[in-house]
Symmetry: C2
Subunit: 305 residues, 2 copies
């Protein structure tokens, strides 16, 4: 077995929670999280990286109970914008904004997105590596009701409502996995696809040209943790995206989206034609996050590679 | 006498206080303040206009007792930046930042600086027109101890210390007075140079090619209110700038800097070879601000044009 890092692919909250559990299992120095940047948005003079920051805040034990942003953050700047008559559709806390302003400053000074995220994660005391999937911009866009939306606008302004008609990862053709991402995948002890929306959270990562190929080429076992808990999605509009992909909302559907990458799957009901670990996938407290991470890693390491 | 606006040229706090007093005398619809933009700085993803905002906050009765920024503002974003290990040398409150982020957004969307400031002043309930001296960037730079500083860095990082060796208004050659500024000067009932630093607060305004000429061409009487109160400067490093200009720190020195624009001067001691109003120039409460504004306007309107 490789002594390389455990690599988790993460988008939304499920992947971030699993990463936090894995931190307890293997420690920050052995953990790499490759994160979706398709939701990134430049707003308020800042560069917001919702998924990388979600993972970073979870790993720093700073995530707020509302499910995003920093614990106990204030919203003075947003209140100030509202006072100026501006419709604030994208809410960002003050300390969150500080992070995103500093990220923008670093990018403008010539740093790669990977370097900027590394500096911010370090400043927040995170030892694990939180790697953007690519340094080039990839932007997830969703078509619903004949209209194209950026992902944040679709999720916030439309509240994720409406039948998904198309999904596009704009800029993916010019994007490449970073050297850090490729090295982590090549050296990985195990690669775990976190329980996030397969289409819009994990999909953009796998859409970066060369990234899926690198996973296939890696000698590490690759498993997915199903985002379906008790037959339903814990958070977010996964169902309509799976329907658009023509897949069922169960382990078999999840496995189909990720095939041929997978060596196994972790889910709470038997449903996929793959080596499987059947276990509870609910992560509602630190112990359940640690347990699922530990079981998933142990399972992965038993698989033939 | 013209029924046009009273026009005040303003930079720092003295000019802003006089403008606030004049607001009580003539009302917002009759008041135009032409403001120095040489201190403007792009920072934190925002566009900060220190002098135009100082005037705007004074006119909105929102100025904080610390002498800058919005009353009761919080500093969460700056605290957040410090938490990331950043040396915050330029302090900006959260609601102040909201204003400066919105200004940057408007400029990026193609608005002129004049239009952006107008929108922000309106949102803060200011009826008077607060006009940037030019829409093009002019940046005041100061040489002290053989080193060049932006004005904000000189005032904040060096605390205005050190012998001033040179002053430069970078970009002035390409700057022009805005149509709004030229119209206000042409139509003015009186033009009043506020009691601010003649070199770095008023100097950049008069350095915009064509602006001094417009004042000379205007039929309005032009008077300066001396920033010297009881033989000293109330606030800021005016003395070293006047020394660099080779001028004494008294009414005669002030008059020399502004000649040949002036038809008269307002000061608290007789010293200039010009028609003069001798009165207290201290503005430490609303009544003294209103009184000085009223006396200055009355004096200006008695002068031969």
């Amino acid at each position: 077995v490789s002594d390389g890092p455990v690599v988790i692919l993460a988008g939304g909250t499920g992947g971030a929670k699993l990463a936090r559990g894995m931190l307890d299992v293997v420690g920050g120095e052995n953990l790499v999280v490759i994160v979706n940047t398709g939701d990134d948005i430049e707003i308020y003079g800042s560069y917001v990286s919702p998924d990388p920051d979600l993972v970073t805040f979870w790993l720093a034990d700073r995530i707020d109970s509302r499910g995003w942003g920093l614990e106990g953050d204030t919203f003075q700047v947003m209140d100030g914008l509202r006072e100026l008559g501006i419709e604030v559709w994208f809410n960002l806390g003050d300390r969150d904004l500080a992070i995103c302003l500093e990220r923008a400053r670093r990018l403008q000074s010539g740093e790669r997105l990977t370097e900027a995220q590394q500096a911010l994660a370090s400043a927040l005391g995170v030892a694990a590596r939180v790697l953007p999937m690519a340094d080039q911009p990839v932007r997830t866009r969703v078509q619903a009701d004949q209209q194209w939306w950026s992902l944040q606008e679709f999720l916030i302004r439309r509240r994720g409502q409406g039948e998904v008609q198309d999904v596009d990862f704009r800029g993916r053709g010019a994007a490449r996995p970073t050297p850090e991402v490729l090295a982590a995948i090549a050296d990985a002890r195990a690669i775990i696809i976190g329980p996030s929306n397969p289409v819009i959270s994990i999909g953009p990562i796998l859409a970066v040209p060369g990234l899926s190929e690198a996973i296939v080429a890696s000698s590490a076992p690759t498993v997915a943790v199903s985002p379906i808990v008790g037959g339903a999605i814990v958070k977010g509009p996964t169902e309509s995206f799976m329907r658009w992909r023509g897949q069922s909302l169960d382990g078999a559907g999840i496995a189909n989206v990720y095939a041929p990458l997978l060596d196994g799957i972790v889910a709470d009901e038997p449903s996929a034609p793959l080596p499987m670990l059947e276990t509870s996938t609910l992560m509602n407290d630190p112990e359940s996050r640690r347990r699922l991470a530990e079981q998933t890693l142990s399972f992965a390491l038993t698989l033939p590679q």
